[in-house]
């Protein structure tokens, strides 16, 4: 069970460095063939100082901790009942390999539907780079199926 008293709860921040090898692995996993995502020379020709971070990869970097689901489990959202309901990204500045990103998240909302059969947790995340620049925002809505 989720508890609305957890609205506003701040999760521990996550800092993760962006490695070229990981980006190449991600490109392979999603079938990306555009060389700017795997070949630094191609990225530079396209105007990026290194491999750019693909649009959805912010979500992955945030999971770069020993147990990325621990925060949810601690507030009553067990992994086996969890589904992803919504995901939004807002981009402010480009991010490339070699950057290091810090993710600061909190619970923005908790609500339920169908008399509690479905519980929703909305997590808001601010993403900053190693220079303290605000590069993106993410909003993740998870649903717990009771």
């Amino acid at each position: 069970m989720l508890n609305t008293s957890d609205i506003g709860k701040v999760f521990p921040s996550v800092t993760a460095a962006i490695e070229k090898g990981r980006l190449r692995f991600f490109a392979k996993a999603i079938g990306e063939t555009n060389p700017i995502y795997t070949d630094e020379a191609a990225a530079k020709d396209a105007g990026y100082a290194s491999l750019p971070l693909p649009p959805s990869f912010f979500f992955s970097l945030k999971m770069d901790v020993p147990n990325p689901f621990e925060n949810y489990e601690k507030v009553g959202a067990p992994l086996a009942k969890l589904l992803h309901a919504n995901q939004a990204f807002v981009y402010h500045q480009s991010v490339i390999a070699g950057d290091s990103l810090t993710f600061e998240s909190h619970i923005a909302d908790i609500y339920n539907k169908k008399a509690g059969a479905l519980e929703f947790l909305v997590e808001q995340t601010k993403v900053s780079n190693q220079r303290g620049q605000h590069v993106a925002d993410m909003t993740t809505t998870l649903v717990v199926r009771n």
Binding site: S56, F57, Q87, F89
Partner: protein, 137 residues
């Protein structure tokens, strides 16, 4: 490079077709994406959770939608992606990603194109739907 004036409301982007999602796809995506949720890679865990089989990460199809967009414009033009997961993507699904220009507008001096985007399987069932904002000059 595509300019703001090249785009009209109602224009459709070229559809991105992807290969059938296999267990290998999910294993690779789990590793690469950092989403190690066993629901997507461990049949025993999925069955214990009441599912018939493992199913795909929703974020895999979001990554496919990302490919659709970055195949159309430079990544730096993408200002926002907002999607809803409407149903579970089953193993062996062949995902197609589509986008249509819904609106053209200006905000704070930036010319923007609003796209309605979706990811469907081979039966036409919508798995993800939402929108994206693209800045064009």
């Amino acid at each position: 490079m595509i300019g703001f004036d090249d785009v009209q409301v109602g224009d459709e982007l070229p559809v991105l077709h992807t290969k059938a999602i296999s267990r290998t796809t999910l294993a690779l995506f789990a590793g690469a994406s950092g989403d190690h949720n066993p629901m997507h890679i461990d049949l025993d865990f999925a069955k214990n959770a009441g599912m018939d089989d493992v199913f795909a990460h929703g974020m895999l199809s979001v990554a496919y939608l990302g490919r659709l967009l970055t195949g159309w414009v430079a990544q730096t033009a993408i200002k926002k992606i907002d999607v809803r997961f409407t149903s579970i993507t089953q193993l062996f699904a062949e995902i197609s990603c589509s986008a249509i220009v819904k609106e053209k507008f200006e905000r704070d001096g930036t010319k923007l194109v609003l796209l309605m985007i979706d990811a469907k399987d081979q039966s036409g069932d919508i798995k993800i739907s939402g929108s994206a904002e693209i800045a064009l000059k």
